[in-house]
């Protein structure tokens, strides 16, 4: 979750031109320093883009999430508790996940985003992968897996998909997810259990 830029800044020699910390940049940005917010944007936009890419394939959608996340962050900056060194990174990540969740919900509501059917070929591939314990590594298999994954994941609810990406792709702990969503640990566990059950049901339908 934490951005590496802060640790790099700490590792740099003391006599070098030390980059300002996020805390300092946030303070300056709140005081209407345009360059400070631009620096924060440049520092964290890659992380936000990566989070958006966990959910969306099209560049426009990823850009939309990045823009939306930083706009929300800018407008909410005066309310942000600027206390810990890494808190801005966690905060912007949380905003990005929320923006992804909102975009997933919007997509789900659109009639043109109706889930497309899984072909017989893809279903056969899925069965083969189940027998061989996981998806293959070659380029063709990766392309099939990507298309199939998109089709299957589109059948999950936005909540389930968000939670599974946080757990299995981002590798966040239950405690981190709880802190991020303001949920208790038991609630995260229950929701994760339900999300896995939903994904199993989706997979079983095509096996």
């Amino acid at each position: 979750m934490a951005d590496n830029s802060d640790s790099r800044a700490l590792e740099s020699p003391p006599h070098s031109n030390v980059e300002p910390s996020d805390v300092e940049l946030v303070s300056r940005a709140v005081a209407d320093d345009e360059t400070a917010f631009e620096e924060l944007f440049n520092r964290h936009r890659r992380r936000v883009s990566l989070i958006a890419s966990r959910f969306f394939r099209q560049r426009e959608q990823i850009e939309e999430v990045v823009q939306e996340s930083f706009m929300k962050a800018y407008l909410a900056l005066p309310d942000f508790s600027n206390s810990q060194e890494n808190s801005f990174a966690s905060w912007i990540a949380r905003i990005a996940f929320n923006a992804c969740y909102d975009e997933l919900r919007r997509m789900k509501r659109r009639p043109e985003s109706a889930t497309s059917n899984v072909s017989e070929e893809e279903s056969a591939w899925l069965k083969a992968q189940l027998r061989s314990q996981g998806a293959g590594d070659d380029v063709e298999a990766a392309a099939v897996a990507r298309d199939l994954a998109d089709k299957l994941l589109a059948r999950l609810s936005p909540e389930d998909r968000l939670l599974l990406v946080m757990l299995d792709v981002e590798g966040l702990s239950v405690a981190e997810i709880g802190e991020m969503n303001k949920w208790s640990i038991s609630k995260v566990k229950v929701r994760a259990h339900r999300a896995r059950a939903s994904l199993r049901r989706v997979l079983e339908r095509f096996l």
């Binding site: 890659r46 099209q58 990823i62 850009e63 706009m71």
Partner: protein, 148 residues
């Protein structure tokens, strides 16, 4: 995850396999988009677009605030306007009640007034007098004088 319930080992194994497959698919779906993410992160005018968007959002919120302020003012003025309307009605009602009576304003009462000048003015306001009316009025006046 399964809690304390007794579960079928075959089912557990099948679930574990499905979980593993699901995880692999999630990773495939997520990892394959990293090139797009890098391209977005390296986009040259991203900050300029962000600034434009922030400015537009500020303007949108300012417009919304103006309407809200106006609505607030109107909402707050409703009781005051109601109070003024009630007060004006009461004022009108009491003034019309206290100074005049309905009989005074009627045409019949004016007709009976002793001052002929008043009659003339009132009639002049109402309609054009015919020659007969004028003659009748004069004769009536003369009769009154004679009777005294």
């Amino acid at each position: 995850m399964a809690g304390h319930k007794k579960t079928d080992p075959m089912t557990d194994e099948a679930n574990a396999q499905l979980d593993q497959l699901g995880r692999a698919l999630l990773l495939h779906a997520s990892a394959s988009n990293e090139a797009e993410a890098e391209a977005v992160a390296a986009s040259p005018f991203a900050y300029t677009r962000l600034r434009a968007r922030i400015t537009a959002e500020h303007e949108r919120r300012a417009g919304g605030e103006t309407w809200l302020t106006l609505l607030g003012v109107v909402w707050r003025s409703v009781p005051a306007m109601g109070l003024v309307a009630v007060f004006a009605f009461i004022l009108f009602w009491t003034s019309s009640f206290g100074t005049t009576s309905p009989g005074v304003l009627s045409d019949e009462a004016l007709m009976d007034a002793r001052d002929a000048g008043i009659e003339n003015v009132v009639f002049a306001d109402r309609r054009t007098l015919s020659s007969d009316d004028v003659l009748a009025t004069i004769l009536q006046g003369d009769e009154r004088e004679n009777s005294r």
